[in-house]
Structures are given as C-alpha cells and as structure tokens.
Symmetry: D2
Subunit: 391 residues, 4 copies
C-alpha cells in the first residue's frame, strides 16, 4: 500500500504541470548552512548556466538512432557576453575514471580561460570542437589572429539510458546550451549534461546549491553545480540518515542489462564545479577542489573505481588578474580565514547532489532500462523515522 | 542533573580499574562493515604497534619543565624483528599543515622503508634522529656500510595540554615505543603520540579499527590507525547523527588560553595510517590514501586550514617486491576489484576516529587547560534520540 | 678538404631526389648511446606508428579554405590489430600550455587504454571523436556493450603555417593515420601531426630515436617519438654546440605576422611519447616521463610559458597486467637498476628532436609564412668549428 | 707530466693563502646570461646565507669519532634579523631519494615560513630540532604562545668522506650557521652542508650563481644555491663540452669502498634553492622549481635513482603577503612575461653547479677515501680543445 501511494505521488510529481518543483530543503532535509538567494551556483555574481537537453524516442537501442537521453551543460564564470576573461581556477580528481579536458593548462597557468562544458562521455570531442568554432564565429579573442586555448569539457556516462555510442550531441546542441545560459534560477534533475544520469541507485542528474558567509566583514558566496552519476544505493545517506539501507529493496532500477558488460553498480561519475567570489589564488582554489570529496562522502560516495570524480573550482574575484603584459595586483584571502570557504564547499556539494536526486524524474531509456526517481514520500518518511525531518 | 551524572560516569570510566574499556561499537554506535579480530590495524598480519606515553606533573606551564602530556607511536609494517624490509606504500595530504618526513622518497620509489613514527609537532626531529641511531645500533641494514634512508615521522600538535616547546620527547621514549610494539590488541585514547590530542571539541588521541572483506575468494584486511586531533565541535557526527550540535554546550574545554595566540578551534591535525594485506601497487595505494578524507568527512572534518591531515597507506603483500638487483614479479589486485578496499578504508577511518574519542579520558594539562572526554552516556542518549543506537 | 667534402655530401643529401634522407647521425652529430635497429620508437616491439599528412594550396589564409599544413599521428603500443590491450603508463607535464586528453585516467589506473594520437591544437576534439567511432566500428571492446574510455589525444600548434581555425582535420584523416600505422622504419619531419611545426627557430615536426641497453643480462629498448614545435632559436644546442648562437642571423623565418597577436617566439609545444619494453610499473613510468625535460634541455628548451610540453611513457611489458577480475602477477625492474632507462630516455629525446629538425624541409604556409629547414651544411660546419663532428 | 703539473696546480689552489679563488667564469667557462653583482643567491636583496663547516681528524672511520667532513648551510629569505616573515614558495622533486622537511605545508599554504637549512642525510632531525629551539630562544613568533611550524631542512649524503653514522652535527653547529649568515659574497665548494660532497666524479659541494634581467622596465634577479652531490663522471658537461668523457680516466676518486654496500656511482643528490625578487605567486614558483632539472641536465645529470634532487623556489617580493586576518593585495608577474625567469633559472643552476666544482678542493675523508677536485687546467684545456674557452 505504501508502495502504491509512493508511486502515485511520484507520478504526480513527475507531471510538468504540477507547479513549483520542491527541492531537498522543501522536503525537510535538514542541511546545515545558509544558502544564497537561488541556492545555486548562479548566486555567485556573473556565473551563467545553460542547458540543452536531448530526449528522443523509446525502445530498443539502435546505435545511431536512439533512444537518446543526453545533453550539454554550459557554465560561464563571468557570463557569455564577456569575451575572453580568464578566472583563477584549479582542480582535483578523487577518482580519475573520467575526462575533463583543459586541466593541464589550468594547473600550469592558474587560469580557466573557457566556459566549463559538461556532457556525456562520448561527446567530449564534439563539444570541444563546437566551443572552438564558436570562439572563431564570435571573435572570442577580439581580433587576435593567433590565439590558442584548451576548452574545458567534462563528462559522465549515460549509456544505461542513452544511445551513447550513437554520438548524438552535435554542434547545434552545444550552441543551444551556450545560448540558453543565464544567471538566476536554474533547472535541476534530468537537464543538460545530467539528463541521463544515475545517482546512488536512483535517478540523478544536474544539481546545484550555494552558501553565503561572512568573513571579517566581507560577504562571500560559494556556489556548486554537480553532474551526478555515481554511487551504490546501499550507501546513500541523506543528512546522515541511512536512506540507502532503508530503501534498499525499493524501486530498484529496471535494467535489461546485456550480460556482456563489465560495468558494475557504482560505476559512473560526478563532475563538480565550485564557483566563488572570494578572492582565492590558484593554490587556494586547489584546496577548495580537494574539499569536494568531503561533501560526496556525506552522501555515501567512496570514489569508486568506475567513477570519474573530477572537480573544478574557480574564483570570479580579481577580474584584472589576467594580463599578458604588466604585473598586476590581486587580492587574496588569508589562509587563516579560509575555513568557511571549505565548510561551505562541503555543505553545498552535499546539498547539490541531493538536490539533483530530488529534482530528477523517473526515466525510461534504451531497451526499456528504467531508473526510478528517489521517492519523495519515502525520503520524508525515512528522515522522520530518524528524527531528522526539518519541519 | 544530567550533567552531574555524566561527569560521575566519566570519572568512573576514567578509573583504570574499571575493567575492559568499551569501544564505540560496545556503546552501540552502528558502524557499517565487518571488522577483524581486534578491530585494529594489527589485524593486518605482521603489523606491530608500540607506544610510549609521557605524562608528568600538573599546573602552570614552565617551558622545559612541563606539565608534559605527549608521547610516541611506532608502527612496524612487518614487525620490528624483521630488519630492513620495505613495503609498497603511498600517501596523500588533505591539508598539509603538518609534517610527515620521508614522503618524497615514498612517492618516488613506491616503498616505505622504515617504521612509521608519530609524535608531537615539535619532536619530529628528535624522533627521526633516534630512529636512525636505532638503525645503526641494531645493524638494521645488515652489514651494509653505506645505506641511507629517510625515516617516516608524522606529528600532530598537543600544545594545548603539553609543554610542547619544552621538547620532552627524547631518544629513550622513541626506543620505548619501538620496544613496546606488538601485534594483537592495542590501546587507544590518551596513549603514544596521541596522548595530548583533541578531536571535534572533545578529548581525542590514538584510535584504530579494521575491516575484513572477501574479494573473489580471497580474504583481505584493511586496518587503520589514527592520531586524531582535529575538528570543530559543532560539526561532530557519529554514524551520521549530529552529536556535535546536540552536545554543543556541554563540557566545553576549560582552556585558559593566552590571548596572544592566533590558534583557532579546528586547528589540529589527523595522521592516518592505512595498512592492508591486499596486493596493491604504489599507484593503487595512493588511491587508498585519497579515500581517507571520505572517512574523516563522516565524522565532520573539513580539512581545516590549521590541520595537518596527512595519510599513509601501505601493503604488506609482495614481501619480495624490494630488491636492488633482479627484476621481481609482484601481485596486483585488479583495479576493477578495488572498491571494497576503498569502502573498507572509509569505514575504518570513521570508526577509528570515534574509537579514539570513546577511549580517551578527560585530561588536564598545562595551565589547567582541560579537555573533556566525549561523555559516553550523552553519546548513547543522542544516538537513541535519532533512532540510531545499535542494541 | 674534409670540410668541402662534407658540405658536398650534405648538399647531396638535402636534394629531395637523393633518396634516403640523412638523419642527424648521418650528418655527424655525435650522440651518445646505442640506438636500436631503426633508431625509432618502433624499435620497441609491437609499437606501430601511422601518419596522415594534409597539405593543400598556397597563399593567403582564408579560414576554412586553407592553406592547410597539418596532420595526424597515431601510435599503437601493441599494434592496431590487437584490440583493447592496455599498457602500463604515466605522464608528466613540464609546461602545460597544451592538451593531452585521457591523462586523468592514466594517472588513476596506471593504464593507457587507447592509441596515442597527436594532431594540431584545434583538432583534438575531432580526433578524439573519430577514435571513439573507430572503436564502435571495429568492435574494439570485443562485444562489451557498455564500455567507456578516454582516448589520448595530444597536440601542438601549427597556426603559423596552417589554417588552424579552419578545422581541416576530420575523421577521414584520423582513419588514414590509423590504417597507415606500422612497425619498422618510420618517416620524420613534415609528416603526420608534425607537418606544420617549428623548432628552435627552424622547421620542426615529427622525430624519433631509440636506445638499446643491457641491464643484468636482459636487453631493453627505449624508443621516443616527438612532435616538436618549441624553443628560441638563440638557445639551440646540438650535441652541446651553440648552433643557435652561430646561426642566429641565418635564414630567419619569413613571417608576415599580423600585428594583432600576443604570440611570441618560443610559444609552441613538444609532445613526447616514450615507449619501452622494460617492465616498469606506473609509478616507475612517471619517473621516466619526468626525465624527458632533461633531453629537451640539451637542445636548449626552457619549458617556455607558451609551450605545451607534455610527456607520456608506457611499457609494453606485462601483457597480462590488465584484468577486470583476478589478481595478476606483473614484473618490475628494480629501482636500483633503472638508471639506464633514465639515461636512454634523455639521450633518445635529445636525438629525436634533432632528427625532427634534420628531416624537416623548408615549408611555406599561410600568407606566405615560411619556416626554413635547419641547413645541414651550416650545421656540419658549426659542429666542425667546435670540434664535435663525428667522422 | 701533464698529470703532475695538474696535481701541482691543484695543490697550489688548495692552499688557503693562494688568494682570490677563481670561479668558473674566471677560468673561461662561457656561460650565457648576465649575473648579478656577486653572481650569488645573495644578489636577491634580503637573502642571507651562513655556513658551519665541520672537519676533524683523518684515517679510519670509527663511528662516532670521525673523521668528520660535514656541515650545515642556512638560508634566510629575508635575513635572520627579520623574525617570522613567510615568503611565497613552492617546490619540485626530480628524484625524491632525499629529504626536505616542511614541504607539505609549503604546497598547501604557498608559504615558506622558516629558514632553509641544508645538511647531511643523517642530521636532518638534529637540525630541525635545533631550529625549533632557536625559535623558542629568540622568540621568533614575537609573543605568540601557541605557534607551530615545520622547519625546512634538506640534505645530501656525505658518507663517502664523512662519519655520517656518527651524527656529528649538533645544535652548536646549527646555531653557528645561523649566526654566520650574511648577505654579499658567500663561499663555495667544501663549505657548510656541502663540505663532504661529490659531483660528476669530482669534488662537489656548495655553489651559487645569479642572473639579472629586465622584464618590461623592471629589473629582477634570480639567485641559486646548490648543494651538489650527484652524477656520473662520464656524463659531465661544461658549457656543452664533454669534459667527463675527456677526463674519464683522470684523477679517479681513491675510494676504499667496503664491498658490503649497494651504493653506486651516481648515487648522491642535489638540493637547489632558487630565490627571486620577481613577484611570483606560489603556483608560478612551482613552475620555476620545475625548470631546475633543465639546468642540471646541462651539466649531465639524469636524476639518477640514488639521487635526492629536490628544489625549492621562493620570492622575496610581496612582503605583506602573509597575514592571519585581512585580505591582502599581492603583485604577480604575468605568465606571458615569465620566460626570462625560467631561462635565468636554468642558466644559474648550470653555473652554480660548475661553480661548486671549481671551488671545491680535493678532500681526503674517512678510511683515506679521496675525492679529487676538478683540475682547473685540464678543464681549461678541454674547453680550448672544443673552441669554447672564453678569453
């Protein structure tokens, strides 16, 4: 009976007309820390996010035909209307079973020079190519005739639901994600690069969250966007509550997996992008990226071997940091004041992942493979059982 | 009233004659995973641990006189009676506000050549020196006349309780820790290098735990030892339960801190040593070390700026791996089978930290500074409140 | 007289119709160490190299039309007929102003799973995409229905000569390089990905060299392939002789550079691939990759800011190292015997770069930009002047 | 006959009263680039260097008695009279068969907080301890009652000449090096930590050099100090000339090596400290440290397995960079202007090593082991033979 009700509620929620979608906080998940206005990466001023979501047909997977369940996400640190305008950045990999192009130059230079794009594993090349063409077409380098750069493109694998070997992401969708990018409220769940993703045994996807803090009279924001596609169901924790254990036998994915694969539960990935307006230097941003695993751990992640857990952190402060000629003066937060940035990062990563799961809807993909959304009612029940529901 | 009872119980527990000290599991903390026989790093065959604990006098701190609350911990991967016998190893730093000597050669060679010593921040040099002298005295290199090596010595800061600027650790204590080292059951809490440590607002120290798992018909053990001295009280989680929030106003450390210090709550450190008998190559052991932060996150750590969070992982398998001449054949676990090692590491780190806190007793150190033990009864009550007490 | 003869011979060799092109050794450059049969990366058994070279039209650069001076290089560690067959590998970046996709997974797993492709900076995405399609088309994963992998694609910038913003490398050329790949003697100079490259002020491109050595009764080979596009003319050293200083004012590139570029002399890159049949583990291969800069230094490189100096090392030994299931036993060279591998790497890198320069021919590219080949006769003269010509 | 003369000259040079010792430039070695006033690390304003040199007795090695051939070097980035005053810093290891304590915190924080000390391999602990005591004694933290820090102590192995297992470096000598430290002209060769060292088959030790350059109207200095103890004689290059090959059979070290050692030629180490007044951020200083191997390569180094090749770079600019409270503004050189720093580093490292060899005198150590100085006359002859002598 409980099951029937939950399915009913799940169906209700999945109706697009249902109105304002609840986020994890709305359901009563007791997160710690104070979010920004949108509780999103776009709370960091200047950051724009855009998606293209590609969903076509149902049924058997015919390579090159579909069904398609994929997309592209674009993140512009200083907005797409600002041409070439590098931000200080750095990155860390918890488990490098994944790809993020452009990272070697980030390490070396301390700068992120391009938008951050996220898509499926097999479309990284196409997206990289399309970004470069867009640079040429929009004169991104403002008349410079001999620029070179290395677009940053991350990915996670959606082959459980998507005809990933059919290579359906093309230039059109990349441009769509770029054009769509905007500040303010952004969508979560089955959108953009996160369309076909799975998290901790339930439907995952794109999620976001933010934290606002005061450090010595200045107010800073940390915003996070995740493309979440990782984890073992039995390990799922929500606000410390063992939801995965509780829901272990509920709504298991309906997967007609072909027997010829070595893939295992837990294979997947999570790309995390951390934005902040705090004035952090590249080596400080590396430290921020290294805190991302702490947020993942709180949801139950272990950095599994099959997972590409790659994290990028950038700071929109120091707008004049990049020059090719003169020395510049840049601002830096004292290391001794950085703890709130770390703590906010951990908190926002945890919430962004749960937000992705709460927003995602049940999806049927190739070959009838179905991944169920985390049932909101059962989540609420479980939090209540452990006296952790925020009322 | 509750407070009085808890103090009473705390006093009771702190009596050495109270009998078998309970560990976190005994109190009902619901950890996941199957521990080894001793639930200790010594469950990995060959590993020996020894302590010297130095506690003298009370009252005002007179530099060079005391009070002293410190010690030394020694870990021998293959036992102290086996002379020079390197093990494959690697390491990772979540936050490098600390020291572990010898790591550069571990990265380069893939081998740990010496015991792992842990002490206080200001005694690293003394301990390193004493280990070298012990090598000379015991002909550790079996007749080689021109050996060189780089003893591995880690540290955490105990200056809140200990006369750390008095440099009380000397060769005698190092030898004592070495001589004491043994397999089997080992002590926790205010012992060895962990004697004067603080964790998540309560008394910390040395802790240990282990996990046993089966991977494709082979049984492997992961054992962990922590010297735990980190964290903010309000962040303390025990099995996901927000114990720190609950006990926020309880038993705060009585600290007559001099106003002239920049130290903050959360400054501290955690050294983690992970041992396993699974046949892991150096690059795989790096991966294990990178999972340690996930266990720390579950207790509420954020890798604070003031914390030296440095982690070493070694494998006792492949006893013949080290040669100076011939090629050798070594065994390696398939990457695709490594998830259980990762998961066990995360679980054992979490439990070892809580074990350190449960075992530690309230301690008064220099200038009357007092750090209270985590009250077992309040812990139990809190777990119960959140329906997480294992009965 | 000897001088006259040598100049005569040099002129003879430099005629395109002469047949067998001379390599640096043939000209009398006194390299140290013993090369393999082909003095090429293909001296490492199993390694296959293929090129596609794209050269079209002359004159003004019209983006999308040409002139085109570019190409693709493919390196198969165990030959293209061996399907999915990972080799132990690792990498290092001296200066990361470049891209090599797939490196994050190499660091993590210790394995190189794909061929190594090298092309121009703006074609990395296209080549990555084409390799994945080729995997699908050739059932590279032998029936596995849910594989994922991260093709390794490196690049250097050929925009001085090539219509690089016209994106002329497409799938056809990638397949051509793949199909062409073979063992044995391989071409150098203006071929494959190296077609439009510049080195130390002269025409650069693709170069190769090898060393054979005996370590405790076993014979090992180290083979190197470079795509060389870096350096300041005045720094050029050949066998320690300051050739760049001597030829400073000779044959400067004829470049109608548009004034609107920030590019400087020295911007460029060098991709180096080191192959060996010595049984090295991933952490040992990292050490090999870290020695590549020593070879670059001997030619006069400084790892300039505009240069993408990224190096990959792999070992074809341990053919059974990769499994998804059982433990395996792998062979490893003792660290104490690794010096010859290091020395051979340094020597072969130095020679491969000079080989690339000696083989390259003067090339006119976009807008009449012309890069001159290192004049063999002047090189010989200079070596003679410094008493360094090998007779 | 030539041999006799050279020995005679060597003896002459080794007389302390011989007058101004020639440096490599004085002998006619044709280095590239413009040195500072002292051609020393002390050309960087503020940098002070001090030595203590310990030489006692001759004859058979009795452990604990001698003969002693060792010492301590101290480098203060901003002078010893400036108390706690961190400088931006970073480090790199070409081959980590060595120790440099304190590096983990440098990586994390971006700051070097202590002087850089260099000694022999077995005295690292003693020196670390003595530095901490000196901090206590001199109130280095200006009243802070709970500071902690991690002294930076590097080392190279002098056991061929020195009773290294006798542990002769003690607090007295550490304080002596500290007290002696000064700006201006500094000694080279058999002094300080470099006293008992061997380089490329000849006597090595301490060396220094500097370069001055103009970058966009600002003048910057790069200064280098090496403790040089590495390399194979046959690989020695001086200004590109194969001096090692030429002098291969000349003046081989007279070594009564005990047969019971695994040590090989080439075992050794080189510690390099690079100072600059250019305003470089920590991630830029890492790049500088990564260029050090390029200078070592020019002398013939290969980063041998037995060598601890660890490099530290710091910038004395941005004096206000370190705070515990407020944000600060710091200056940074544009990445696009950094090449001269890189080039100067490579040049100064090369020259500093040769300077160490030129300054070092033949030394007899334990058991009559004798390492000969590079004969100046033969060096000059060889440069002349290859038309490379600067007249």
């Amino acid at each position: 009976m409980k099951y029937i009700i939950s399915v009913f509620i799940a169906i209700l929620f999945s109706l697009p007309s249902f109105g304002q979608k609840p986020r994890a906080r709305d359901l009563g998940v007791p997160f710690v820390g104070k979010p920004g206005k949108y509780n999103a990466i776009t709370d960091v001023k200047g950051v724009e996010v855009g998606y293209s979501t590609i969903i076509t047909s149902k049924g058997e997977n015919i390579i090159g035909k579909g069904p398609v369940r994929t997309g592209v996400t674009a993140i512009f640190p200083r907005g797409k209307s600002r041409k070439f305008s590098p931000v200080y950045a750095n990155w860390y990999s918890l488990n490098g079973n994944g790809e993020m192009t452009g990272t070697t130059w980030i390490t070396e230079s301390g700068f992120l020079e391009t938008p951050v794009m996220i898509t499926n594993t097999n479309s990284v090349g196409e997206v990289r190519q399309a970004v470069l063409k867009w640079f040429v077409d929009t004169d991104w380098y403002s008349g410079d005739k001999e620029w070179f750069t290395y677009p940053v493109v991350g990915e996670t694998y959606d082959g459980l639901l998507n005809d990933i070997y059919g290579f359906h992401v093309n230039e059109k969708y990349v441009l769509e994600a770029i054009q769509n990018s905007s500040s303010g409220k952004i969508s979560e769940g089955n959108v953009g690069g996160g369309t076909g993703m799975v998290t901790m045994g339930f439907k995952g996807g794109t999620g976001t969250a933010s934290r606002v803090m005061t450090i010595r009279d200045s107010t800073y924001t940390v915003g996070v966007l995740v493309q979440s596609n990782f984890g073992f169901k039995e390990n799922l924790l929500v606000a410390g509550v063992p939801v995965g254990q509780e829901l272990r036998d509920t709504l298991n994915p309906k997967v007609n997996k072909s027997p010829e694969s070595y893939r295992q539960e837990g294979d997947g990935s999570i790309i995390v992008v951390v934005a902040t307006d705090a004035p952090l230097l590249p080596h400080q941003l590396k430290r921020v990226a290294q805190r991302v695993p702490l947020g993942i751990a709180k949801v139950g992640g272990i950095g599994a071997n099959g997972s590409g857990d790659i994290f990028l952190a950038f700071s929109t402060a120091n707008e004049q940091a990049f020059t090719r000629t003169n020395n510049v003066r840049v601002e830096t937060l004292s290391n001794d004041q950085i703890n709130w940035i770390f703590q906010s990062t951990v908190q926002a990563v945890e919430e962004a992942i749960i937000n992705a799961m709460v927003a995602a809807r049940t999806m049927e993909g190739i070959n009838g493979n179905t991944v169920y959304a985390l049932p909101h009612d059962l989540l609420i029940n479980t939090l209540q059982k452990y006296n952790r529901l925020n009322k």
